[in-house]
């Protein structure tokens, strides 16, 4: 087996599914997902030496994927501008509680909210909440201290709480209804 292939099999192969899932989870759009993956792979190509020598290449690759996906999402948000956000908010607020919880609009609202966090907050929140990575792994991927990661996660959480207050209250309504 060639050296490059060996490294790919060792580092990237086990992450393929999660990379795809992560990017799709953010973009929810075939075209954007492909574009985000291509951008992530371009970064991997440029930083391959750094990645393969990194103490936690897995976390670094997740970070790159999340970054590319949110970059795409932010671009889409800018493209759609305020109308789309207003439509989403309006749609969320008009639904019945049962509809809201599973509605695509609700998921889109969550992603839009994450898209409004700072880059590091968005990455830290996703890596922590979705990937379940430790603060230590996230700190190595972001190149900052663990305490800083904790701050990013907590500030991101509070910001999301504010941005998603409507959705959260609707969700509580559904739970009490059930």
């Amino acid at each position: 087996m060639q050296y490059g292939q060996e490294e790919y099999e060792r580092i990237v192969r086990p992450l393929e599914d999660r990379m795809i899932r992560l990017i799709w989870g953010v973009t929810k759009n075939a075209e954007d997902a492909e574009e985000a993956l291509q951008e992530a792979l371009a970064v991997l190509w440029r930083k391959w030496d750094k990645i393969r020598m990194h103490p936690n290449p897995e976390a670094l690759i997740y970070r790159i994927c999340i970054n590319s996906a949110y970059d795409l999402l932010r671009r889409r948000i800018r493209r759609e501008k305020r109308e789309a956000l207003v439509q989403v908010d309006a749609a969320v607020n008009e639904k019945t509680p049962a509809d809201v919880l599973n509605a695509k609009e609700c998921l889109a609202a969550i992603h839009h909210a994450i898209g409004q966090l700072s880059r590091h907050q968005a990455i830290a929140v996703t890596m922590r909440f979705v990937q379940g990575l430790s603060y230590g792994d996230i700190s190595r991927a972001l190149g900052c201290r663990e305490n800083t990661v904790r701050k990013h996660v907590e500030r991101g959480r509070e910001r999301l709480r504010g941005l998603l207050s409507n959705v959260i209250s609707e969700q509580r309504g559904v739970e009490s209804f059930q």
Binding site: Q2, I20, V130, L133
Partner: protein
């Protein structure tokens, strides 16, 4: 890896849920195709196939390089590498060895007065040529041998008269010597009192490749500062200052190879002046040969045009 024990916060649950959706099969296939392509590119990547120690050696080289750079910078900052600061004696000696120099001298009577400009050219052997106002003065071995009037302004002022006196002092002081002497040059300045020994003034140097020396009278009522180049030891500027009156003499020095002998010859100058009578502008610089071969006077330009237009002899 999975160290997130309590996903009970509603925000956390929602974020997780937002990523919980299965990727559609067609999207998944398209993305897997991109990953396969990437794997092929990685395999073909040239340096990936080199052994791992290559990167370590590269890092080691970088580290050694930075270490060497740090040591060199430390040595330079400590003065262990590079030219040491020249002493005053070295500056004087280097000036004396210059084949030919010119000095543009600005004399000011007080702080707000217009400066009077004096131009001095001097070559080894005590030959010199000076321009003050509309007069061209030729000297040799400490004597004024001829003063040639130039057309142009003939206004006189006290400063110009003083400058004329200064010039005579220059001629006497400088021309009496076979070689240049910076100290004699300074003694020709209108200084009253005994000057101190030159001391290096580190705060006055313009940059690290220059050095500055201060000389003053004991009461500090008159002082001179000389800037010299660190590498060549040549002085490039001299400033004489009288704080009480604001009177100053600022000398800018430049150096070049010897000028032709006719440049210092008053007869050759007069002949050239006669030949170029219509060209009053630039007459002060007649016969001067620019080190870069550039034309200096209108006569030089005309000569260049004539030689360019002349047919080549077969």
């Amino acid at each position: 890896m999975n160290t997130n024990p309590e996903p009970e916060d509603p925000v956390e649950i929602m974020v997780k849920k937002a990523f919980d959706e299965e990727t559609p099969a067609d999207v998944r296939q398209a993305m897997q195709a991109h990953l396969r392509q990437f794997r092929t590119r990685i395999q073909a990547r040239e340096y990936i196939q080199r052994p791992r120690w290559y990167s370590q050696r590269f890092l080691a080289r970088i580290t050694v390089g930075f270490g060497v750079a740090a040591i060199v910078m430390l040595c330079v900052s400590l003065g262990l590498i590079g030219s040491p600061a020249p002493t005053w004696a070295e500056v004087v000696e280097r000036f004396a060895g210059a084949p030919c120099f010119s000095a543009t001298i600005y004399v000011k009577e007080h702080a707000t007065a217009d400066p009077v400009q004096v131009e001095l050219w001097m070559a080894q052997g005590g030959k010199l040529r000076l321009r003050v106002g509309n007069q061209m003065i030729f000297g040799e071995k400490g004597k004024v041998i001829e003063t040639v009037p130039l057309t142009g302004s003939s206004e006189s002022s006290n400063v110009r008269k003083n400058a004329r006196l200064l010039v005579e002092q220059y001629v006497e002081a400088l021309g009496a010597l076979d070689s240049f002497s910076l100290e004699t040059f300074m003694k020709s300045l209108p200084i009253n009192g005994v000057l101190s020994s030159p001391l290096e003034n580190e705060n006055a140097r313009v940059s690290d490749d220059m050095v500055a020396f201060d000389i003053s009278t004991p009461d500090n009522e008159q002082w001179i500062r000389i800037w010299a180049l660190r590498e060549s030891r040549l002085p490039v500027r001299l400033l004489f200052w009288i704080p009480g009156s604001g009177e100053s003499i600022d000398v800018v020095l430049s150096y070049f190879e010897n000028q032709p002998s006719e440049f210092f010859d008053p007869n050759a100058f007069k002949a050239a002046l006669e030949y170029t009578m219509p060209d009053t502008a630039g007459a002060a610089y007649l016969l001067f040969k620019d080190p870069g071969g550039r034309p200096i006077t209108p006569a030089d330009v005309r000569e260049m045009k004539q030689s360019a237009a002349a047919p080549e002899k077969s």
